[in-house]
Symmetry: C2
Subunit: 382 residues, 2 copies
């Protein structure tokens, strides 16, 4: 163990969001320098139990020493397993390799798996925790803004197949989620902004107060001012938690978290997966969803302008054409990808639209020609 004094952060600086799922309910704890002081948060789950930290080489090298301080103080037996860096690890091959590695370690059903990394680590480790001996306890410690506000909350995990992203997976709720905003300072700017795209989505879902707060505080939180950053992560987690609580298994209203995502997924498919940061596609998708809502007369056009303005000010694309400077986007091709979306049921594409800020709804009967008109405009340069 290290000799240097540990940094203590007052517990009062932490914020907690409860995901209220009865016996599967859990807390999301948000704060600064949580990793090295996490033993009190982790203790109710991991004290006295063997623990395996699943991570990748980048996160291990950047952040594991800090988490290790807390684990060492808990005096438990813990191991680290790494999976490959990047989206390619969301494969059958890497999932199988992780499960075999866990079996090699001789762990049993009382072992706790800690997913320590970005969305890919959360997905693969979460999936493995769901399947290992039909389910062992999982702790999520996401290290990107995107995973802190989105993928680590709600229990979904998945891998990709040659048919598309996230088509194979499970629901497996974590026992606790630790969101340490201090780890975000090491993120590339573009990745931070990508995560902010999901936060903008949450503001639009929630209402005028939340969206207005983001308009005011985006510069500070994107400059790593920890107070606004913690509040933005808290709002994002609370938004996701409320929707997940109402519809854990994604049978209905959970679709609301997909505001912007029908467009985003189609754009990502057209670009080739991994070519764009997800949150940039979401930002352009939010603009398209708002434009479609206005085009169909569901909301005021001023909302579209206000949203585009906020996205631009934050440094995010405000339309599909702003996504990749040298690309010509084909609106027809994007429309075609939508019919293969996982949310498509019996051939109908379901869009999340806006009646206003804070008033999202699902519409399964949008005329394709309206979508194409909007796409034509969103894809047009200048």
């Amino acid at each position: 163990m290290s000799e240097r004094p540990t940094v203590r952060v007052d517990v009062a600086e932490r914020r907690t969001v409860r995901v209220d799922l009865a016996e599967r309910g859990y807390d999301i704890v948000i704060g600064e320098r949580l990793l090295e002081t996490a033993e009190d948060v982790l203790a109710p789950v991991v004290a006295g139990r063997r623990t395996v930290v699943v991570t990748d080489a980048v996160v291990r090298d950047s952040h594991l020493p800090r988490l290790a301080q807390a684990l060492e103080r808990l005096d438990i037996r813990w191991d680290t397993v790494t999976i490959p860096v990047g989206e390619g690890a969301k494969s059958f091959r890497d999932l199988e390799a992780l499960l075999e590695r866990l079996l090699d370690l001789g762990i049993d059903r009382s072992t706790v798996l800690v997913a320590f990394g970005g969305g890919v680590v959360g997905d693969v480790a979460g999936f493995a925790a769901a399947l290992f001996m039909r389910g062992i306890d999982l702790v999520q410690i996401p290290t990107t803004l995107m995973s802190q506000v989105d993928s680590a909350v709600g229990g979904k995990n998945a891998i990709n197949t040659r048919h598309g992203k996230n088509l194979v997976g499970t629901f497996h709720q974590p026992r606790i989620v630790l969101n340490d905003v201090s780890v975000l300072e090491s993120l590339p700017r573009r990745e931070l902004l990508s995560g902010y795209g999901e936060i903008v989505k949450c503001g639009l879902i929630r209402g005028e107060r939340e969206f207005g707060w983001l308009e005011e505080h985006a510069p500070a939180l994107l400059a790593f001012d920890s107070g606004p950053l913690i509040e933005a992560v808290r709002m994002g987690c609370e938004t996701k938690a409320r929707i997940v609580t109402a519809d854990e298994r994604d049978r209905g209203d959970r679709a609301l978290v997909n505001l912007g995502h029908t467009f985003a997924h189609a754009v990502e498919t057209e670009a080739g997966h991994g070519a764009l940061p997800h949150g940039e596609a979401v930002a352009a998708g939010l603009a398209a969803a708002a434009a479609l809502s206005a085009r169909l007369g569901h909301c005021e056009p001023s909302i579209v302008h206000r949203l585009r303005s906020h996205l631009r000010n934050a440094g995010l694309p405000d339309r599909i054409a702003a996504l990749a400077s040298n690309r010509h986007w084909n609106s027809g091709a994007i429309l075609g990808h939508m019919s293969h979306d996982k949310k498509t049921v019996a051939g109908r594409v379901h869009f999340v639209l806006l009646r206003g800020i804070g008033a999202p709804f699902v519409d399964g009967s949008v005329p394709p020609n309206a979508v194409l008109e909007v796409l034509d405009n969103e894809c047009r340069r200048g």
Copy 2:
């Protein structure tokens, strides 16, 4: 469609067992010639929905034409996908191949998967249904006695890894289970007896009335007398259903269904997986569990004698030594395998023991030397 008249069976000849799991609850319907008359049972789940029957080549060739009659009358779009015959299909490779095949078919989340076959088909198809777009509806139509009374009930599925059997899987309850006892007539005698091993286990768990009934009716049901066969399957399903209802996720009392299985799994590991029909290992395991219970003073030795006598009369092994005539069983090796059982938590082997017929309990503190003594005796010839 066939021109021959369909055989109609009066619905009154059917028996139904309810698995009472609130919103995941479902019926197990048991009867004769159910396959070709199943449309009324299947309609509430599959009417108007695309359906994929997952089976293997043997079951497809023997029984699919009969099920097809019911599906044709439902006037739905249905496809058949086969997986390889045998335990080898419980692998990552074949699970992945099945999921890719389902994606090739372009099915969506509203599609119903029908697992039509023995335990392997039920496991692989059930696992695929759990993972496909994070879960689609599943119907179990088991075609072996073992799967009708055991593996198709309770929602467990799994595949094997090089570390052992069933170490990777999920819980995914079916929407309905159809047990057509008529398909059992095509089973090899040894496979029928293997399934009967699980029914004996259920009789021991349930009580004097059920065990006594089996002692009286085993000859008739093993000769395919449909009345007693339906009743035995009903009793087996009811036993499993009660235990699953009390502990769906296998946190406690569900362990009672593992009466005899700690011994059976260790014997199967020692023999090499697939070398013995599972139910034969279970029969020998039940005798060993009863002998251990008597050895520890938990039950009367007369129960052990009565159980061995019933197993012999049915044509099942009454001890480990009776399992494979030309093998020398090594009691120390079998004991060693027990410490690797999935049910072993924090190094403790949990045995299901008997205080009497109908009085099973879990004991996590059995002295290893008592187990070894019992194993020495069970492995001894003569």
